[in-house]
């Protein structure tokens, strides 16, 4: 039977010749991950069940990402549970603040997750690793506890959806714009319980960091995994980076997909998601006049080096609008260092931005940029739900770093192409 990419991976790693959608499989995991919010509950459950050791201390990643540096006493106490557990179990991939960053940027960047991996993580954006060809999905703390003890988890084999992107991307149309447009088309539950497969000439041409952005937002369409088939570009990215051997998989010709969607990216413009669902996306020409109080550039979606380069290229020599504040948070320590070396941090500081240490912080309304009543934020992150970044009457718009940078300068949602045009005049 011809199988999709997700089916091939699950069949192979579950020791089965073939699988079909709906079937339950038990599968060994290559890596399990938890963060400072989800791991403490997993640790409590792990210990309450009587487990005394993790299945493999080299295959557990514990990353301090959300409320670090500690935002209050309670979060410091939660972090302490994780710090002690990491030490007691000699967890190899334990990254406290100052040594790692946001988990979904960190693990691909350091080659801790590699193509063909089966990964579960107690964070919904674990699906990010699909960008490099891993089968990776978010779970809760109890599933993490079970996998930390046994090295296994269970999956219901998902139906697959195929997305084909063709044409040449115009300037300032990024992976973020492709995925927002996709979610607009299929809806916030359009891929519920399903695997998304991102293919086509425009994906072959898409840089790895943009691929990771697309897979990152799979969950915003309800998807279980969002996988980009591995190709030359993936292997170039992994050279000198992968800490373990990778596995290459490809969908079979003639595999069955529940749905197929095609997008002509040459006709696409920068996209903006309106409050309070990612599917409420519009092309930037249809945005109108929207004044913005805060711009946030960062998160596991768009806090990578290429994102900061794009933002800096627009902000260089400019000032943030007097009625708008700009927060820039490099997603990892390595991104921060590279941005510093390239002079990007100085560009942000000169523009009047607030630049801070790596954290998920404002994306989830945790700290370092929480919104007050009635405030509007344009954010490069992934969710704009009611109250996501602060007060329930605050509003969040989602867009790419290019739109974010242009918006910070003008103080209203701005098309970066408009600014580029004015520069040229």
């Amino acid at each position: 039977m011809a199988m999709t990419l997700a089916e091939k991976m699950l069949a192979d790693r579950s020791g089965l010749r073939e699988v079909e959608p709906g079937q339950i499989v038990e599968t060994p995991v290559d890596l399990v991950m938890g963060n400072d919010i989800t791991a403490p509950i997993a640790i409590r459950e792990f210990e309450a069940a009587g487990a005394t050791r993790v299945f493999d201390p080299d295959r557990v990643a514990l990353v301090m990402s959300h409320f670090v540096p500690a935002k209050d006493i309670s979060s410091a106490d939660q972090s302490r549970i994780m710090r002690q557990f990491a030490k007691r179990h000699a967890i190899r991939h334990y990254y406290p603040e100052g040594q790692g960053g946001i988990e979904h940027t960190l693990l691909p960047e350091r080659g801790i997750v590699v193509p063909g991996d089966i990964v579960i993580g107690a964070d919904s954006h674990t699906c990010t690793y699909g960008g490099l060809g891993a089968f990776a999905t978010g779970v809760g703390s109890t599933d993490l506890a079970y996998a930390m003890a046994t090295g296994r988890t269970w999956f219901k084999v998902p139906e697959s959806m195929r997305f084909v992107y063709y044409g040449r991307r115009p300037p300032f149309v990024t992976g973020k714009d492709l995925i927002l447009r996709t979610i607009k088309t299929i809806g916030d539950d359009g891929a519920l319980y399903r695997a998304m497969e991102f293919t086509g000439e425009a994906i072959a041409d898409l840089p790895m960091e943009d691929r990771l952005t697309m897979s990152n937002m799979t969950i915003e369409a309800g998807g279980k995994v969002g996988i980009v088939p591995t190709d030359e570009l993936t292997l170039r990215y992994e050279e000198g980076r992968a800490q373990r051997p990778w596995r290459l998989y490809a969908a079979d010709p003639g595999a069955r997909y529940a749905e197929e969607h095609e997008f002509d990216v040459s006709a696409l413009e920068p996209q903006v998601a309106f409050p309070s669902l990612p599917s409420l996306t519009r092309g930037i020409s249809d945005v109108g006049e929207v004044a913005i109080d805060q711009v946030f550039i960062g998160s596991c979606t768009n806090g990578r080096l290429s994102d900061l380069r794009t933002a800096a290229s627009i902000l260089r020599g400019k000032r943030v609008h007097p009625e708008t504040r700009l927060i820039v948070i490099p997603a990892t320590q390595d991104v921060y260092k590279a941005a510093l070396r390239e002079g990007l941090i100085e560009v942000f500081l000169d523009a009047g931005a607030s630049v801070s240490t790596s954290t998920c912080g404002p994306c989830l309304g945790g700290h370092m940029g929480v919104l007050g009543k009635g405030e509007r934020c344009l954010s490069t992150s992934n969710r704009n739900y009611v109250g996501r970044m602060g007060d329930r009457e605050a509003e969040v718009f989602l867009a790419s770093p290019a739109v974010a940078a242009a918006t910070a300068i003008r103080g209203r949602i701005t098309d970066p192409r408009e600014m580029a045009k004015e520069e040229a005049v």
């Binding site: 709906g22 339950i24 919010i37 989800t38 403490p40 509950i41 409590r44 459950e45 309450a48 069940a49 009587g50 487990a51 005394t52 050791r53 993790v54 299945f55 959300h66 409320f67 209050d72 309670s74 979060s75 106490d77 939660q78 993580g121 107690a122 964070d123 919904s124 674990t126 978010g138 779970v139 809760g140 703390s141 109890t142 599933d143 506890a145 079970y146 930390m148 003890a149 046994t150 090295g151 269970w154 219901k156 916030d188 539950d189 519920l192 319980y193 969950i219 309800g222 279980k224 669902l277 989830l364 309304g365 945790g366 929480v370 969710r383 739900y385 009611v386 109250g387 996501r388 329930r392």
Partner: protein
């Protein structure tokens, strides 16, 4: 008899329990803020055993297990929805919060209706409207987890039998 708290589609985990409260794993502390961003009236008016009824994609968003824990901690006995986001559904099963997928119930039940889950979870009864709704059955493997008393009970059993992690 339980009263229904009825909401729409895409009730996300950020409105079930905002991230600023994710500084504890204690269900009761979490329950004190359950749904406060969606319906401030819920916390003031809820009674033990009430049920929450949602539309499509209930529990979408973050993987925070704090969401079903908060619902449980608020004293809610079950969540009924047209469909559930997959991580929320899995978390609810794992921690023993009863979740029922029933498009007919999600459409038929209105805010404040008196509802009852049939013994054994075979159907949902709406006493206010005199209606009865079917429930989508769980896959057998998932039924086993529920019957075992949750995923951690399954783990305890495996550890006793000498599996990994002991």
């Amino acid at each position: 008899m339980a009263r229904a708290w009825k909401y729409g589609d895409n009730v996300d985990t950020d409105v079930i329990i905002p991230a600023r409260y994710l500084v504890t794993g204690d269900p009761e502390r979490l329950g004190q803020h359950c749904l406060e961003n969606l319906d401030p009236g819920f916390l003031a008016g809820k009674a033990p055993g009430d049920v929450i009824v949602g539309g499509r994609n209930f529990g979408c968003g973050s993987s925070r297990e704090h969401a079903p824990l908060a619902i449980k901690g608020a004293g809610v006995s079950a969540v009924i929805a047209e469909s559930f986001a997959r991580i929320f559904f899995r978390n609810a099963i794992n921690i023993g919060l009863r979740v029922y997928e029933s498009p007919a119930a999600a459409r038929g039940i209105a805010m404040g209706d008196e509802v009852e889950i049939d013994e054994g979870g075979a159907a949902i009864v709406n006493r206010t409207r005199g209606e009865r709704y079917g429930i989508a059955p769980l896959p057998p493997f998932v039924q086993e987890i529920v019957a075992a008393g949750g995923l951690m009970a399954k783990l305890r059993k495996e550890l006793e039998e000498g599996g990994a992690g002991a």
